[in-house]
Symmetry: C3
Subunit: 336 residues, 3 copies
Amino acid sequence: MNTSPSSKNNPGNYFEDFRLGQKIRHAAPRTVTVGDVALYNGLFGARFAVQSSDEFARAIGYPRAPLDDLLVFHVVFGKTVPDISLNAVANLGYADCRFLKPVYPGDTLSAESEIIGLKENSNRKTGIVYVRSRGFNQGGAPVIDYARWVMVRKRDETAVVPEERVPQLPKAVEPSALGAACPAIDASAYDAVLAGSPHRFGDYKAGEKIDHVDGMTVHFNLFAQSKDRFGKRLIYGGHVISLARALSFNGLANAFHVAAINGGRHVAPLFAGLTVFAWSEVLATADVRGRSDIGALRLRTVATKDKPCADFPYKEGEDYDPAVILDLDYWVLMPK
Amino acid sequence: MNTSPSSKNNPGNYFEDFRLGQKIRHAAPRTVTVGDVALYNGLFGARFAVQSSDEFARAIGYPRAPLDDLLVFHVVFGKTVPDISLNAVANLGYADCRFLKPVYPGDTLSAESEIIGLKENSNRKTGIVYVRSRGFNQGGAPVIDYARWVMVRKRDETAVVPEERVPQLPKAVEPSALGAACPAIDASAYDAVLAGSPHRFGDYKAGEKIDHVDGMTVHFNLFAQSKDRFGKRLIYGGHVISLARALSFNGLANAFHVAAINGGRHVAPLFAGLTVFAWSEVLATADVRGRSDIGALRLRTVATKDKPCADFPYKEGEDYDPAVILDLDYWVLMPK
Amino acid sequence: MNTSPSSKNNPGNYFEDFRLGQKIRHAAPRTVTVGDVALYNGLFGARFAVQSSDEFARAIGYPRAPLDDLLVFHVVFGKTVPDISLNAVANLGYADCRFLKPVYPGDTLSAESEIIGLKENSNRKTGIVYVRSRGFNQGGAPVIDYARWVMVRKRDETAVVPEERVPQLPKAVEPSALGAACPAIDASAYDAVLAGSPHRFGDYKAGEKIDHVDGMTVHFNLFAQSKDRFGKRLIYGGHVISLARALSFNGLANAFHVAAINGGRHVAPLFAGLTVFAWSEVLATADVRGRSDIGALRLRTVATKDKPCADFPYKEGEDYDPAVILDLDYWVLMPK
């Protein structure tokens, strides 16, 4: 009887396993449901009206309440982990993330990735993998498209990667690329009282800073597998992004849709039991091509741990304030 | 570039911000789903047959399983927090809470409140706000109506509140006001074995005390935002109410509907890691006007922390037993 | 006024309360929903394609994604607890567990049990209760059938149990009894890339051992009532079974259906905060009668706490490795 270990498990890809141009279809597709929505809301306290209420969504032009954009991001991101980042040291960045189509409960999401860059680190123990990932609905239509780069261990320090390249990625998504996942809305039917704020697109100005006031204590981390293989646990930063977005309701209640993520940095890890606070700065305002119903705000949202944000903690010189855990640059849409 | 703080966030209302007769429409409406039901059941272990099983509910006359009454309460209550109790020191009491219409998965709940009383405290640092809140379904029909009063900080100790009044609130809901949220049921189709108890309305007598035996350990607190602004965390007492109601299944399994809450006192806070126990006393029994299918029990349910309830811990003279955390007075309906 | 304690609560059955041949209908039926599925997936990280995706399930012949088999087991098991094991010292074993029909979101599950064996322990303080339990859907069709035995306290040490018997239970379910809950599938439409592994039934050999690599940290325990009556908390072992099954995806991704559980031993308790790892050995492979679409693997899956499984920790002589918490023997189905 053969009792030797099999090689049927997936040890994850190491840096030298990747090739430029490599395409990967990820397992396994997931039908997202109102159950996932309830869990998401319960974990993060999300309360944007469009995603919270079928009635509110229908009143402005959606067929029903769409999924929170970040839930879509997490589901697709999660699918890429076993192939891309199981042996990651750190998730280094995101770029050019665009939401392309609304996702509704009952839709089934799948994910594919392409390796768009590879760069070995000088210590030869790790390398940076640049990957473009796309999520699709059951009809095959893309719902999200984004790039990320991640530092991945090498299995064998002497291994040589045949071809390297560092891709050019945009610093920010162009306003002209925004809005694909937002149907034409009836801004006059958008009930600002029900939504929680009188402030529409035209009320926000570049440079304005908003303290989101509320704090939320993190209990634990769903949407991620705990990894202890290397003695260090890689916390899923997406959890912090969702907390920051949910907290931003207080001051940005009408920012009903995350249209794009320009970039994000997980400045420091977060552990259970800490309380997360957040503040935002309006980096820019923009019209959306062909759309008189909505406008776009480019935001920097900063999340902190155990530190309220009334004085907008950010950087001290080159370094981040030690309380900062997230520095996120993204576009949201607001009714005009 | 303007980098001054904006005033777009909601700092919450302070005592002097409220006015008698003021009406508030709360954000944001919420479509409640089977996902919320699963989360509620997972957190509290609710297992009353009518709310657990579409088949059971249909057999007795509901179109399908309605939401747990307290889930309806929590959703509506949660909507009122940002406008009413963000700057609260303590939630002091509830009165005259009536459930008016069954709520089903897929319904969308919204909430409105009216300020019905204001009374500054003699220290001039806080005042008591009395508010009547109502929840509505997507058709605009009221599903719940209740009063509560809450101690709220003043922003400015010197501020003067123009008009004060302490409203008269009933000690208990009259039996004649019960039953609006309960359709006519076929009591003969009510399968007591499936429901978990042979004891129907006629088997309970005023004065009877029931130890609910089981304990449930509290892991964490959903349905509430953590507030740390004043260095003290306001625990959402509704979590304890739901735990006590779920525990009461053991002894009151056929009390299938909470028809009204007469009053409730959160005697002491609850922290994660403790185990909650509960017991109930039948305060009164009553017929429900025009209904031969159901009868009403007025109950006092007492919840304790880390103390089983075989000897019914309650008051020691004027003071509560130190283990008591909840003293709830409410009406339930049972099949005849 | 009568203020004496009532006997309306359920103190649970003690050993001397059971009788051979006794039949019990359990309360309360439960409509299982996509909400329960989301909670299950969130807790355990389950990602087998058939249960994750309506599209994937439909492509191979299911009407939609069925519930995870172990979720069905937990729901039915949970119903039996108040009548069978409320006064249990320990859950000793399972046998002859067969899944008989797929369960879909929206189905309503109920449970019945029969006492098939009773054996007092020599200390006369406890006895072993053998019970056969069955779960049914809303149409009355059995969906699961299993035996378990559990050590239950006596209320009164002097009580005499009129008739004792130790039932004969099979060491393993026969392959001919497998497959009832699996519709005929179109194995050619089974997309192994989407499912997460190229390895089908024919690729596995008896004696093969698979390290499932990943670890998952346990946060807390749903699907169970905490019991503190006897000063010791009985941890629900089913939680560990689900974790082990979810972890086994890495190496057994195409083992899309648990067809039967031959036996299981909860070797040691698990507490929150520990990380669970798992490995499996293929004990046997078998054809399924009348089925060319699928084959069966008999697996031993071993779960450990805080110990990765690259060297397959199991027994040291007669004793289990101290890290082992679960030793599970079961049949899974794979596409041919």
